[in-house]
Amino acid sequence: MNKPQDVNTEELRARYPDVFGRPASARLATPAMLIAALAIFVFGLVDLDFSPARFISGLSQLGWISMMMMPPDPGSSLPLYLKALGETLSIALLGTTLAALLALPVSLLAARNIVPNIVRFPVRRFLDSIRGVDTLIWALVWINVVGLGPFAGVLAIAVADFGAFGKLFSEAIEGADQKQVEGIRASGGSALHEIRFGLMPQVLPVIAGQVLYFIESNTRSATIIGIVGAGGIGLQLAEQIRVLEWQKVSFLILMILVAVAGIDFISGKLRFAIIGKRAVA
């Protein structure tokens, strides 16, 4: 056993000044950030009218509403709700498919390995600004064009996803292996042949996985675009909330939960069937 070494603190201090004497700015950074975060939080609470009295009365209201929700009961409108749910699923499926079909050619124009930067940059910014606008806003715009109803919802989801797909697809294309493309070129293929036989076989499984994932997440988006009048179950939900039919509201929410879980399950199975056990997100 050796004795604990005599530690010459002074010497260590001189050798590792960073460990012993961290500058005040470094030591204070974390608490300062926490205090700043807390200060903004408190300011936010005050500015947004979070008074305790209001909060408590709201909570008791909420408790009352939850009591009224039990038990979930569709009344006599079950067929209507089932139809609305079907509409929602249709909106998600059609909107996503339409978006994928539109985005595929455009994504080629946004991929670094296909087009020069001068084309890519404006296409990318165009896709970015489409993505910056929420699906609900697109729904409002399309309602102005084709009128109230689920068709406006389909178009809204198609446009909003077009932006997202354009970006995701072009990233998938940029990540593709160039060797196969070169192989096609070496055997005398044209630029279109390179894309069709060199890129697409690599990219399509990835794209299929992403499309399925989006159908899943769009089932959720499609439930809410009805709130602004673009068809589907959201329309019924918003109406029942406005007329305070809480039992119907809770039944509709349950329907949404079940539908989303079902779609999750199916598309999970399909995704694994198409691309194997590779994670897609």
């Binding site: 947004l48 209001r54 209201q61 606008v133 929420d134 609900l136 399309w142 064009v145 918003a238 909330i241």
Partner: protein, 294 residues
Amino acid sequence: MTVAVSILPEQQLAALNAAYRKAVARKRLRLSAGFTLFVAALIVASIGAEVNLRTFFTYFGNFVSYFNRILTLDSGQRVWTDLGEWFWGLHKWLKLLGETLLISYVGTLIGAVLAFLLNFFSAENTSPASWLRFTVRRLLEFARTVPGIVFALIFVMAFGLGPVAGVLAIAIHSTGALGKQFSEIVENADMKPVEGIRSTGASWVSCMRFAILPQVSAGYASYALLRFEINVREASVMGFVGAGGIGQELIVAIRKFYYSDVSAILVTIIVTVFLIDITTGWVRGRLFGKEARN
């Protein structure tokens, strides 16, 4: 130099070709069957969604002209010829945008704190009891599956019109989403430090505090920042149902056909979202190094 390519004898080649054709035919059959099913589903869906191509083509001009109209001022000129007129309400809109940012900030923070409290119970490796894990997981699932705006609709009824409903809706949705992501980080954490701490006789809380937390806190902060980014978009439409923020102004402008206002508000929203994305990306890069930026 010539290289002789040996060609297989006719018989062997025929057998191989037949096998190849059979394999390809099977694959094609499966593919076309899947494709047919998909198209059938699309047709059913288009009947369900009342797709009407005639309306679409008749009114598609409206879509194009809508953008034409929102880019035209009342005076008939293009919007960018008179920025002062286009952004006439900038002061008011910036104030509402500030409110939107505050809603998403406060909502994200509340959601992150709740998710932080719950995630240790829902993670596979740290949960003290399996019934607790099951309950917390179902709770989080519920919170993230019900869309935020539905919560907002209900909260507007309970808490009255205004940003409070928006904040709470965003908080609940963020709790669900962050709770799942947080517990996934915890599940990936190294369990050896936990064993070390437990062997000193420490309680469950101390194990979490001194063994798990140091490993996961950076990941928490990164996900919370990402969620803030997402919530800014979400909060911009909360006003549609009366839950505060810029959405209120936007839906009024769209419904009442104040065309140039629509484009002006949309531009301010897009620019804000863009700036927030850049800022949080930069903060994440500073805090956690370059690899955490995506």
